[in-house]
């Protein structure tokens, strides 16, 4: 009879990649995840460009360019509900307990889901970007600006994913696990994602200008337009990092409490 050798702790990256491989299989076997995540933001994009767009004065002649950053953030928010639901399903089905009773680093369990979230959101964003190109999105941005955009989107995804981990771990039903993302999806609507904040009444404007989405949207918009991002980029990074640190800390607390 075997006692497994004490090598488990030396190979956390191997464990994470095993777990990532597993949940990526889930995604490719239920492609509806990618479709659902992309279809709503694309529908919003079409609706705003072809229905409302004519009446919206943003001061730019290409509304798709103006709109795209907000649409990408909505897509990331939608993707979060799936991350939370996948984690919840593991916890509910007993697989979580099986993994936790095995000699693998506890963090590889969560990081497997977190990396899956990053990869699947990246796929969704590429699909949306292609759709945007079809309806007239154009960007003069150089490689460096694009890399900055990718970095900010990845950081935003990562920080929201850790909120999704909290939701997935502490929910009592799969609907509950998914529902936390609704406010996140709604947040871009009260920001400068669709219309300039200057048109909003006082209190709404104050909220819109000081919530994380606006600074992230403004940063990405400026970068994609080939303009300097100014100080907005630091506000955006501060928001993302702040959310990331708090959410990670809370998620770990929830995780540890469930093992006590």
């Amino acid at each position: 009879m075997n006692i497994q050798p004490e090598n488990a702790k030396n190979r956390p990256f191997f464990d994470v990649s095993t777990m990532l491989g597993r949940s990526m299989r889930h995604i490719f076997r239920s492609l509806d995840t990618i479709i659902t995540v992309t279809i709503m933001p694309i529908a919003f994009m079409l609706l705003f460009v072809y229905v409302f767009g004519g009446a919206i004065r943003t001061g730019t002649d290409n509304y798709v360019n103006y709109l795209l950053p907000g649409i990408l953030l909505i897509a990331i928010g939608t993707g979060m509900s799936y991350t939370a639901a996948r984690l919840f399903a593991d916890k509910q089905g007993g697989l979580f307990e099986r993994f936790r009773s095995m000699p693998i680093a506890p963090s590889s369990l969560l990081w497997g889901h977190v990396l899956t979230s990053l990869v699947s959101n990246a796929i969704s964003l590429i699909v949306i970007l292609l759709a945007a190109l079809l309806i007239g999105f154009r960007s003069p941005a150089g490689l460096l600006a694009w890399l900055a955009v990718v970095g900010i989107l990845a950081l935003f995804t990562l920080s929201l994913t850790w909120i999704a981990v909290i939701a997935g771990l502490s929910a009592n039903s799969i609907d509950g696990a998914a529902a936390f993302s609704y406010p996140i999806i709604f947040l871009p609507f009260i920001s400068s994602a669709f219309v300039p904040t200057a048109s909003m009444p006082g209190p709404v404007r104050a909220f819109a200008e000081n919530q994380p989405v606006t600074s992230i949207v403004e940063t990405i918009r400026a970068l994609l337009a080939g303009q300097p991002a100014g100080t907005e980029i630091w506000t955006a990074l501060a928001w993302c990092l702040g959310i990331l640190v708090v959410a990670y800390w809370l998620a770990m607390r929830v995780y540890k409490r469930q093992t006590a």
């Binding site: 009879m1 075997n2 488990a8 076997r29 089905g93 007993g94 095995m102 000699p103 693998i104």
Partner: protein, 255 residues
């Protein structure tokens, strides 16, 4: 690691949930290479004991040693010595049976995970179903796969928490056969059950857990001696519905 003949030693184990005591001073020992059955009704605290021994829960007091490792202080040592089969089949529905086994073999850092998976599929009569997604499996097949996953890497101690609850009689017999094979191979089996017959069939030693305490602990013969001697009655033995069901099934089975 101390060299002794006990696989599991539990002393004065206590656990409460929100001030409701679930376990109160639980003591027992499990010898290496034996089948130990923890018998009790729903809510007696069986699963809580399993979770503490499998390092999923921390006890409020007392100690639990598994394969010489303290479950509360050396969880990694315990995890390297055990496998857990919980009350509900812990299988990945989206993956195939084979992929489930490969996943566990990889997480246990075994060499040749694919070959190990194929051997286990073969041993558990799942070779044909191995390429299908688990969501298409019957309850009995799911449980077989679940147990096969637990035996990946041949852990020294196997926990089976109510392995036959919710299974049909045929699948239950299959699980019993597996447990007997495990016992013959020298694996220590810790089993919880609410069925008296199951404990009687499988266990070398039986402990009865009632309201968070062990109220009886011994071999079947010892437990029987606690009660009034059997009296002899003559009754006509009718086949039970289970006998009928199983014999009809057996005729139809080509396996």
């Amino acid at each position: 690691m101390p060299k002794n003949e006990t696989a599991i030693t539990v002393k004065g184990l206590r656990k409460s949930y929100r001030n409701v005591p679930v376990l109160q001073e639980v003591d027992f020992e499990v010898e290496k290479g034996t089948v130990f059955a923890l018998l009790g009704a729903n809510g007696a605290g069986k699963t809580t004991i399993v979770k503490i021994l499998a390092t999923l829960l921390k006890p409020d007091g007392g100690s639990a040693f598994v394969n010489g490792f303290d479950a509360a202080l050396q969880p990694d040592g315990v995890r390297r010595s055990i496998s857990l089969t919980g009350q509900f089949a812990a299988v990945d529905e989206v993956l195939t049976g084979r992929e489930n086994l490969i996943l566990i073999a990889k997480l246990r850092h075994l060499d040749n995970p694919r070959a190990i998976a194929d051997d286990l599929l073969n041993a558990f009569g799942l070779t044909e179903a191995g390429g299908r997604r688990v969501s298409t499996y019957s309850g009995g097949m799911r449980r077989r796969l679940d147990i096969a996953m637990s035996l990946t890497g041949s852990p020294a101690i196997v926990f089976l928490d109510e392995p036959t609850t919710g299974l049909d009689p045929e699948a239950r017999l299959e699980v019993w056969k597996l447990v007997k094979q495990l016992a013959e191979s020298g694996t220590t089996v810790f089993l919880t059950t609410q069925y008296l017959e199951e404990a009687e069939q499988l266990a070398d030693r039986i402990a009865i857990l009632h309201q968070g305490r062990i109220i009886a602990d011994g071999t079947l013969t010892q437990l029987k001696s606690l009660f009034p001697p059997a009296k002899v009655e003559y009754i006509e033995k009718q086949p039970t519905l289970e006998d009928i069901f199983l014999s009809v099934i057996a005729q139809k089975e080509e396996r």
